[in-house]
Every structure is written in structure tokens, then in C-alpha cells.
């Protein structure tokens, strides 16, 4: 077999980027500057609520307005850390009651965070996340899992 002497760099070209008819997601309303402020505020509010023992309220605050439109990965990571922290503070027996008090939109957002938590496991998160998942599915059904998979607005 003769040696391939010609350049094979063409194989590294990303043809999808060059496609004129490429599907572009709708321009999202990204408030990059406000994001960090909002998240910091949320962080402190959640902290005070958890210290006060009001885990359910802390959960509700952490789930409001997730930074789905943000292009800033670090902002999303910070928000995720806040939510994960709240989720791990619940005892197994308290989870069911907490999920029942959330509305359907909040359950969908919670599901998104649960799956993000599964994707980035830590030592003490997996066990409690599975309990959260079990109860979130009991309330939101399989449809809530489908919405996590199909939604282009990721947390």
C-alpha cells in the first residue's frame, strides 16, 4: 500500500459550522452581568434559610429562575452547587413531603438538577439524589424525565 502523502487535514474541518442552512437556536435573552448578582443573592438567601432550618423554602428559592439562558458555564455551575447543597441537606424521610409541595414547573426544574447531579456525582450526593429521583418521578411522571432530555434550555 502506498503511503498517504497528501494532507488529511480536510478531515478535521467541521462541516456543520460551515453549513449555510444550519439550524441556529433562537437568540436567547442572556443577561450576563445580572446573572452573577442574582446567583450571589440567591446563594446568601438559601444559606440563611437552611441555617434557619427552613429547607423547603430554601429549595423553592434555589429552584426559581434557573440560569437556563446564560451562556456562562460558571454561573450555571454555581447555581447547580447551590441546589445540590440544599438537596443533600434533606433527610430521606423528608424528601417525599418536600416534592409534594412543589408545583409542576418546579418539579421539572428539580428533575433537571437531579440529572445534572447524576452526571457529576460526588461521594454523598448519589444516595439522596436517587431518593429525590424516586419521589420526583412519582409526582412528575415519566413526562418530567422526557422534558429533561428534550429541553434545549439546560441548567
Amino acid at each position: 500500500m502506498s503511503k498517504n502523502t497528501r494532507s488529511a487535514d480536510f478531515r478535521k474541518v467541521d462541516v456543520d459550522e460551515l453549513d449555510e442552512e444550519k439550524f441556529i437556536d433562537e437568540p436567547e435573552v442572556s443577561q450576563d452581568d445580572d446573572d452573577t448578582d442574582v446567583i450571589s443573592k440567591r446563594e446568601s438567601e438559601v444559606k440563611s434559610l437552611t441555617l434557619g432550618g427552613r429547607n423547603l423554602d430554601a429549595l423553592k428559592v434555589s429552584l426559581t429562575d434557573p440560569p437556563v439562558y446564560s451562556k456562562d458555564e460558571s454561573a450555571k455551575k454555581r447555581n447547580f452547587d447551590i441546589v445540590l447543597d440544599v438537596l443533600t441537606r434533606f433527610r430521606q424521610s423528608e424528601v417525599e413531603e418536600a416534592v409534594k409541595k412543589l408545583d409542576s414547573e418546579q418539579v421539572d426544574i428539580l428533575m433537571k438538577y437531579i440529572y445534572r447531579g447524576f452526571a457529576e456525582p460526588t461521594e454523598n450526593s448519589c444516595g439522596i439524589l436517587l431518593v429525590w429521583h424516586q419521589h420526583a418521578v412519582a409526582v412528575g411522571g415519566i413526562g418530567s424525565i422526557i422534558r429533561v432530555m428534550t429541553s434545549r434550555k439546560t441548567v
Binding site: F23, G141, I142, G143, I146, T150
Partner: protein, 361 residues
């Protein structure tokens, strides 16, 4: 009573009924179209139409003119005419460079719409001078594959569901063959290709099925994000009811009456929804009631045999679902209409190769 017919062992890609419901056409997930006629209580193949070069993706049978139109992944559509005992195809030049995905005759049967992966809708009508079917394109502002479409009863408007998560209504007024359209709740000016409305349920999910209500004042669509949406333009007021439900996504939806919607999909059973005059969309019931399997008494011998073979002590196979359809339902068609124009029976086909006719209740 539901009528269950096991037609083929593989998936039925698409099906359509003729005007008097004595025959139906379907494609068994290949390049052929099979025409079935009733022999006694069973349906048997009467004709096999072989013309498409690739998988047949959509078909529709015109009630009055008895013409059959089929479209396929080979970027072609054929209009079939039954004459002297056999079906004769006429090629329709769609001018698309991707597969066709769906085709439907308009209510007056003077034109048909073909959706495709080329992000184009081809509206085809018969050109008498040249004795062939010609197509006109609707391109803007479609941004992705068209997955489903439905005609408005007025013969001018077309609803399109596509994989860019949106549902749109276009005007298909072809001045060569028809009169100027009258104003409807969807708008006044209707030049060919005009976008009358673009709707989304706020989420992200391919639109799998779209349906106009019998009056044309309401539009329903189902998405892959497990949602059912109904847009009502009744009385000139625009109201959207969206339900993000708990079940697996639906693949198809159809209005049975002004207030009743049936959907079906990956859960393998049809579900009835009610959309009332206050724009409330509610789940009514699932049409396929779970059947309790009568297992009977197993002898000790059978139990251990089962344990050995299948690692279960159950007598019957537990790979069968407890629903009538054994796999996803991919299409719903109206089978019978009662005096007031509402559907009294509908038919479903699916990936399990079964055709089931249901009573609407």
C-alpha cells in the same frame, strides 16, 4: 367494540382509508404500498404498488376522486389512479433535495401538500394544459424538517408541525386553480405562502402531530417534550392551553369533535382529552382499559419448567403488553363520522403491525 387486525409483523409506516372504508392502503416499512380489501371478516392484500425507490413515508387517499397519493424517502411523490383493474402511477416533480416525510390531500382534493426534510412544503396541483402535477414551494420561515401537517377545512390554510419545535399555519391559496379565500379567524390576507401564525409551547420538543378541529377554529399539536397544546381562535380571541403531562410523548393527535381530542404514542394506547369552551384542557381517560391476565393455576412441574427456561414463575410470557397495541402507535385516522360531523370511530396503526378500530367514547 374495538376491532383488532394483525396485518403484518413489522411496523406499519403509514396508512389511509378510501372514501367508503372498504379498502385501505398501507406501507409495511418498505418501498411498497399494499392495498387491502375486506374478504369476509379479514383484510387481505389486493394490490401491491411498487414504484418508490426508497421507503414510503406518507400516503393519503382522496374520498371523492379516489386518487391515492404516496410520498417517499426517494424525494418523489406519485399520484395513483385506479383504471382497468390496476393502479397507474403519475410522478409528481416535487423539486426537493431531501426525503419527503408526509403528504395529505386538501379537503376539496384539488391540491395536496408534501412536507419534507428539505425544510420545504410542496403544494401540488394539477396543471390541465400540460396534463401533469406541478408543485409550488413554501420555504420561509421554515427552519427544520416538517414532521406533520393538517389541512384547515376551508381548503386554504395548512398547519405544519416541524422539528424546530414550532407549529405554523400557512396559506396555500393557488390562484391558478381557485377563488380568493374569505377571511377566517386566522387572518385576512392570504397570499400563497403567507405565514398566518407561528406557535410554540415554550419548550423544546419536536412537533410530532398537528390537527385542526372540525370547524378549523382550534389547532392542537403534540410534542416530544411530553406536551399537548391546543390553540383556540374561537370568537377571534387567541388562547393557548398547554399541558405538560406525565406520560411518554405522543406521536399523533386528532380532533374527534370541537371539544374532544385523541392522542396516542409511545405508551401504546389512545388517550382522550377534553378542551372546553373556557380553554381548559383536561385528561379524560385512556381508551384501552388494562386487561387482567387470567393466569390460572400452574402445576408445580410448570412452575419449575418456567423457572428453568425464563427465570420466572409466571405461566404466560411477560413480554406482551397489557394494551391492545404491542408497540408505539404512530398514526390515528378518522374511520367513521356521525351525523353532526364528529368522529364516531377512529383507526390506529403502529410499530407492532396492528390496525385497530376504536369507538369514540
Amino acid at each position: 367494540m374495538t376491532e383488532v387486525h394483525e396485518i403484518v409483523t413489522g411496523p406499519i409506516t403509514c396508512h389511509c382509508w378510501n372514501g367508503n372504508r372498504t379498502k385501505f392502503a398501507m406501507s409495511p416499512s418498505n418501498t411498497e404500498v399494499h392495498i387491502y380489501a375486506k374478504k369476509g371478516s379479514k383484510w387481505e392484500v389486493e394490490h401491491v404498488l411498487r414504484e418508490h425507490g426508497s421507503r414510503v413515508t406518507g400516503m393519503d387517499w382522496a374520498k371523492k376522486s379516489d386518487n391515492l397519493v404516496t410520498c417517499g424517502a426517494d424525494r418523489n411523490a406519485y399520484v395513483w389512479n385506479f383504471k382497468d383493474g390496476h393502479w397507474k402511477p403519475s410522478l409528481v416533480i416535487l423539486r426537493i433535495n431531501r426525503a419527503a416525510t408526509i403528504v395529505k390531500w386538501s379537503p376539496e382534493e384539488n391540491k395536496f401538500a408534501v412536507g419534507s426534510g428539505a425544510r420545504i412544503i410542496s403544494i401540488c396541483y394539477f396543471d390541465k394544459d400540460n396534463d401533469w402535477w406541478v408543485s409550488k414551494h413554501i420555504k420561509k420561515p421554515l427552519r427544520s424538517t416538517i414532521s406533520c401537517l393538517d389541512w384547515h377545512p376551508g381548503n386554504y390554510l395548512l398547519a405544519i408541525g416541524s422539528s424546530d419545535f414550532k407549529c405554523r399555519v400557512f396559506s396555500t391559496y393557488v390562484k391558478e386553480i381557485e377563488e380568493k379565500p374569505k377571511e377566517t379567524v386566522w387572518g385576512k390576507k392570504m397570499p400563497f405562502g403567507a405565514l398566518m401564525g407561528e406557535f410554540s409551547n415554550g419548550g423544546g420538543g419536536w412537533v410530532h402531530g398537528v390537527s385542526f378541529s372540525p370547524s378549523g377554529d382550534k389547532l392542537a399539536w403534540v410534542g416530544h417534550d411530553s406536551s399537548v397544546s391546543v390553540l383556540s381562535k374561537v370568537g377571534g380571541q387567541e388562547n393557548t392551553a398547554i399541558i405538560k403531562h406525565k406520560f411518554l410523548p405522543y406521536l399523533t393527535c386528532k380532533f374527534l369533535s370541537e371539544n374532544s381530542l385523541v392522542t396516542a404514542g409511545y405508551d401504546c394506547y389512545p388517550v382522550l382529552w377534553n378542551h372546553d369552551d373556557n380553554n381548559q384542557l383536561t385528561f379524560m381517560n385512556r381508551l384501552d382499559q388494562k386487561e387482567k391476565k387470567i393466569t390460572g393455576h400452574l402445576s408445580a412441574m410448570e412452575k419449575f419448567k418456567g423457572l428453568d427456561k425464563r427465570a420466572t414463575t409466571g405461566g404466560s410470557s411477560d413480554t406482551t403488553l397489557d394494551t391492545t397495541h404491542q408497540n408505539a402507535i404512530s398514526q390515528i385516522s378518522v374511520f367513521a363520522v356521525d351525523g353532526s360531523g364528529n368522529a364516531s370511530k377512529f383507526c390506529t396503526t403502529g410499530v407492532d403491525g396492528r390496525l385497530v378500530i376504536w369507538d369514540c367514547r
